[in-house]
């Protein structure tokens, strides 16, 4: 879903660039509150994992391929703003070093695939897990649903940027959402698998400790500030 250069009008690129930069600045500020020293290397690790995972595109259907975005996964792992920071680093490296996503579209890409899934996904996940029993199935099911929904929402926002704020016809809107409804399944499978692995091995590294399944030892669940 990386928007390349030239797919948005200059005014849209400038506006999304300013808002995206503001969001990253706010994420830097809020990260001081969300992150402890123990998880510093895990931030770098998660960014590196998302970068690598995004290199692997798999066929989904109809001659289309897809890869993990990872914004919601990062938001659930670290909290909304550290999650935003993690994926922003990925999109920065991809745009500057690998021509994957345009430099002028960096702000739009951070908003679509970073801020929306990490922040929106985080709060949706909290709302969903707040309604469900504290079981492993409910926790991981919430990860899957939130991941799928975040991809569809991100594609809708990207469609606004390229079809209303760019030269593409409005017909791209339903096509984008339709295809990404399918792509979201891949996102849900990978994100849920990664969170399940962390939940099994190091649940203490996950944010949302008050939402962890009751099978996780009480001292870890009670670590929430």
């Amino acid at each position: 879903m990386h928007i390349p250069d030239g797919l948005m009008y200059p005014a849209t690129a400038a506006a999304t660039g300013v808002v995206g930069a503001g969001a990253v600045a706010y994420a830097l500020k809020k990260s001081r509150e969300e992150l402890d020293e123990k998880r510093i290397p895990v931030v770098g690790l998660t960014a590196a994992f998302i970068f690598a995972a995004q290199m692997v595109t798999v066929p989904v259907a109809g001659g289309t391929s897809a890869h993990l975005l990872g914004g919601t996964m990062a938001g659930i792992m670290f909290g909304p703003w550290v999650g935003t920071l993690v994926v922003s680093v990925v999109y920065l490296v991809q745009a500057v070093g690998f021509a994957d996503g345009g430099i002028t579209a960096l702000g739009a890409n951070i908003l679509c695939m970073g801020v929306l899934p990490a922040v929106g996904g985080y709060y949706f996940f909290r709302a969903l897990t707040g309604l469900l029993p504290r079981t492993r199935v409910a926790y991981l099911g919430s990860v899957a649903v939130t991941s799928w929904l975040s991809i569809v929402a991100a594609s809708a926002l990207a469609s606004v940027f390229i079809a209303i704020g760019g030269p593409l016809p409005l017909a791209a809107f339903p096509i984008m959402i339709g295809i990404h409804a399918l792509v979201g399944v891949l996102e849900a499978v990978i994100s849920t698998s990664v969170i399940a692995a962390v939940l099994s091995t190091r649940p203490d590294l996950l944010a949302n400790k008050d939402r962890l399944p009751s099978s996780v030892p009480a001292p870890i669940r009670e670590e929430a500030a």
Binding site: R32, V43, M55, S65, G79, V89, D204
Partner: protein, 118 residues
């Protein structure tokens, strides 16, 4: 290692995780699909929606340079493993370096509690 997961060393977790990321970026990425991604497919399909010969239009659009977006665009497909190596290590260094800078500027908490619930 102690009984509490909160007191366990983070090093093994990070080393194993980084090895997995490098394996994916350097080896598995060589088998990535080359078909257009969902954004590219949406552009192609919307461009060919009303074309008289849809099949020919799709073939033509899939060859357009504007749609050639790939992680290996800078380094070339022949050295995907190098793209993976450089990208994974650079992303790790920048991600961790950024939060180290935050810590040096006096920001982060020193406890093990992690995220503050909002």
């Amino acid at each position: 290692m102690t009984g509490s997961a909160g007191q366990r060393s983070i090093v093994p977790f990070v080393v194993v995780g980084l090895a997995i990321a490098l394996l994916i970026g350097m080896v598995v990425s060589n088998f990535a699909a080359s078909t257009p991604d969902a954004l590219q497919r949406s552009i192609i399909n919307s461009a060919c929606r009303d074309a008289p010969d849809k099949e020919a239009c799709l073939l033509e659009q899939e060859g357009k340079p504007v749609l050639e977006i790939a992680p290996s665009a800078l380094l070339g497909n022949q050295v995907t493993w190098l793209s993976g190596l450089v990208g994974v290590l650079a992303t790790f260094a920048i991600g961790a370096g950024l939060v180290v800078l935050l810590r040096l500027s006096g920001g982060l908490s020193s406890g093990t509690t992690g995220h503050r619930v909002e």
